[in-house]
Symmetry: C2
Subunit: 126 residues, 2 copies
């Protein structure tokens, strides 16, 4: 993987977020600073970075994928109303993978835990 200015910009921009943005959000933000960057480049780099383990792709919401600069195992909370994704800084249940292994036709290498509900902001609105 060669160096590229655009890839660095994508990485830097994602790191500014704590709210797991989608590719088009990163694109829109970068466009302001770098009016020539293309959406395809943003997609290409997000894909490359997640394949190399530098960032994490979150695929549990319908519609667009979200991206997380924090690659350490942690959990998420998704608001069913607005679709926003929040971190859940609770203790990780390390034992789960071993627990599951007995019930699975294969080898378990990890897990993903997502909580659903309604965020405070959306609750206030309704």
């Amino acid at each position: 993987m060669n160096y590229s200015r655009q890839r660095e910009e994508v990485m830097d921009q994602l790191k500014l977020h704590h709210d797991h943005p989608t590719a088009d959000i990163i694109f829109a933000e970068l466009r302001e600073r770098d009016p020539n960057i293309s959406l395809a480049t943003v997609y290409r780099n997000l894909k490359l970075l997640s394949e190399h383990g530098a960032i994490k792709k979150l695929t549990f919401v319908s519609g667009a994928d979200h991206f997380d600069p924090n690659t350490e195992l942690h959990y998420h909370f998704v608001c069913n109303e607005c679709g926003r994704v929040f971190d859940v800084p609770m203790k990780v249940a390390e034992h789960l993978d071993q627990d599951a292994e007995a019930f699975v036709p294969g080898e378990v290498t990890g897990h993903e835990l997502v909580f659903y509900g309604v965020c405070d902001e959306c609750a206030r609105k309704s």
Copy 2:
């Protein structure tokens, strides 16, 4: 929600599965019996049925959504190689939602737990 023959067919066909098919798989199977049913109808009915809680939409794999006729809380295992989705009949961790609530800016109403790894069949191939 009125009765419709097509919706019943979609429901019945999904119930025959234990492997969480996608909309286009259900469509292809139904087409053999009912050569006039359309893909749009299959999508419409899968959406309606999941909105009414009669089935469950699984959105954790990139690409197409999968559907599950079993609406009871249970966990899944996804093979990273072939993308197939298996049930994990382990005990559900009931306490998780309450545990998470303390760390979440909103109200938790449920969770989804997905294990990742490689299924036996794919392991044999490589």
